[in-house]
């Protein structure tokens, strides 16, 4: 599993509309400017593609920050 910093910057690169360096592990991902369900789908697609982990709606609901997403993926890749 990659480091949290790399996870954050890889995720950031998936969003076409975000300036590099905007996302931090502590940031609440729903506070991304104009956050929509499309951002949620991009997060799911990114995590599935990179880590072969498929997040459900309830996983996303539980997570608030980018770090929360990272730890969910970390937990699921261990299983």
């Amino acid at each position: 599993m990659i480091e949290i910093k790399e996870f954050t910057s890889l995720l950031e690169a998936e969003f076409e509309d975000i300036q590099p360096g905007t996302l931090t592990p502590e940031m609440h991902y729903r506070e991304i400017t104009d956050f929509s369900s499309m951002h949620a789908l991009i997060i799911i697609a990114f995590i599935d593609h990179q880590f072969d982990v498929l997040l459900k709606g309830e996983d996303l609901k539980k997570a608030n920050t980018i770090a929360d997403l990272y730890y969910i993926v970390q937990e699921k890749t261990k299983q």
Binding site: E16, D17, S37, M38, A45, H49, L54, G57
Partner: protein
């Protein structure tokens, strides 16, 4: 387990019809410019076609069927079975297929019935009609698939309205001895019944005085009980989970190699979802056509519409191995492996 082979039939021709009226994503002012950009970036949808009040799904399918029969020089009287696949029928009853039997001029000896499916509808419709036409005594089957999804999408629901376009299609299936076999893999999971649903207006939740009352569900999502609701995250999760294993199982069952496939034609759900599935299958981008940019998600019409708008030349000019995959509302999903050989593909009809 619904993995099976059907022999002695061919996919002989295909046609599609869309309304003339174009709706552009950039004109959808219910959401901000930034949201519109993000929507197009994710879904790939720049525009779609919307039918006016007086045009129903059956009208779109009727126009497609007429064009196809003209191009194939086939008489309506030669149609032995007519199936209408849709979730936007003309009436609760009678079945729309029967209205179309009469309207197209098919004989009273024609067998006609409806199938109530959405995104998986083309694949299911192909399975049912192919099975019938493979029987001795049958000659031609006409499969009409489509939806007027704009009928039930609330204009003030950003999660559905800019996604769906209206379209109707016609496919002619012909009995042909020793034609290459068609392979099918069809699946269902009612556990996802609430992920795409119109709750009101049926017998479970009868139409009543409050059925059309618009309610704010969350910012940007306002709809009534008779409007479609969509849980995008759950549908996305379902598609990433189920489509690849279904397709892999089919290819293995058919004894084929994925490299033999000329085109993967997927239900046009949204670009991000379809591209995710394509990457999971390691399937080449240049062999995966899309009509979603121009027409949006057109429900059960999306696979044949994509064949008409994106694959006319290759389908008309030689033998092609096609992998067709439909997935969505239900949940219901499935895939087909079919070899076509210089089929008739009508020009897109606009009404």
């Amino acid at each position: 387990m619904a993995v099976f082979t059907i022999e002695n039939i061919e996919l002989a021709g295909i046609a599609a019809c869309v309304p003339k009226q174009i709706a552009r994503t950039e004109d959808y002012v219910h959401i901000s410019e930034q949201e519109r950009k993000m929507f197009t970036f994710g879904t790939g949808i720049e525009s779609r076609r919307l039918a006016p009040e007086e045009i129903c799904t059956s009208d779109l399918c009727f126009a497609a069927a007429q064009e196809l029969m003209k191009d194939m020089q086939i008489s309506a009287e030669d149609i032995d079975v007519l199936i209408f696949v849709s979730q936007s029928p003309d009436y609760f009853l009678p079945a729309t297929s029967i209205l179309l039997q009469e309207r197209l001029g098919c004989s009273k000896r024609t067998m006609a019935f409806d199938i109530n499916l959405g995104c998986s509808g083309y694949v299911y419709g192909m399975a049912v009609i192919s099975n019938l036409v493979s029987l001795p005594g049958f000659r031609n089957g006409l499969l009409l698939c489509g939806d007027k999804s704009s009928f039930s999408a609330s204009p003030t629901d950003k999660s559905t309205y800019p996604l769906f376009g209206d379209a109707g299609t016609a496919t002619l299936i012909r009995r042909k001895e020793k034609a290459p076999a068609l392979y099918f893999n069809l699946q269902s999971d009612g556990g996802g019944w609430e992920s795409i649903i119109i709750r009101g207006g049926g017998t479970r939740e009868r139409f009543n005085a409050n059925s059309l009352e618009k309610k704010v569900i969350e910012p940007g999502i306002e709809r009534s009980a008779c409007d479609v609701e969509l849980n995008g995250v759950e549908v996305f999760n379902f598609s990433l989970r189920e489509v690849k294993p279904n397709v892999i199982e089919l290819i293995e069952y058919a004894g084929k190699d994925i490299a033999e496939i000329d085109f993967l034609v997927m239900h046009q759900a949204n670009k991000l979802m379809n591209e995710s599935v394509r990457k999971k299958l390691n399937f080449p981008k240049e062999k995966t056509p899309y009509s979603i940019r121009e027409f949006g998600n057109t429900s059960s019409a999306s696979i044949p519409l994509t064949m008409v708008t994106e694959l006319k030349q290759p389908l008309e000019s030689g033998k092609r191995q096609l992998l067709l995959s439909g997935f969505g509302v239900g949940y219901s999903w499935g895939s087909i492996l079919v070899e076509t050989d210089k089929i008739i593909v009508s020009e897109l009809v606009e009404i």
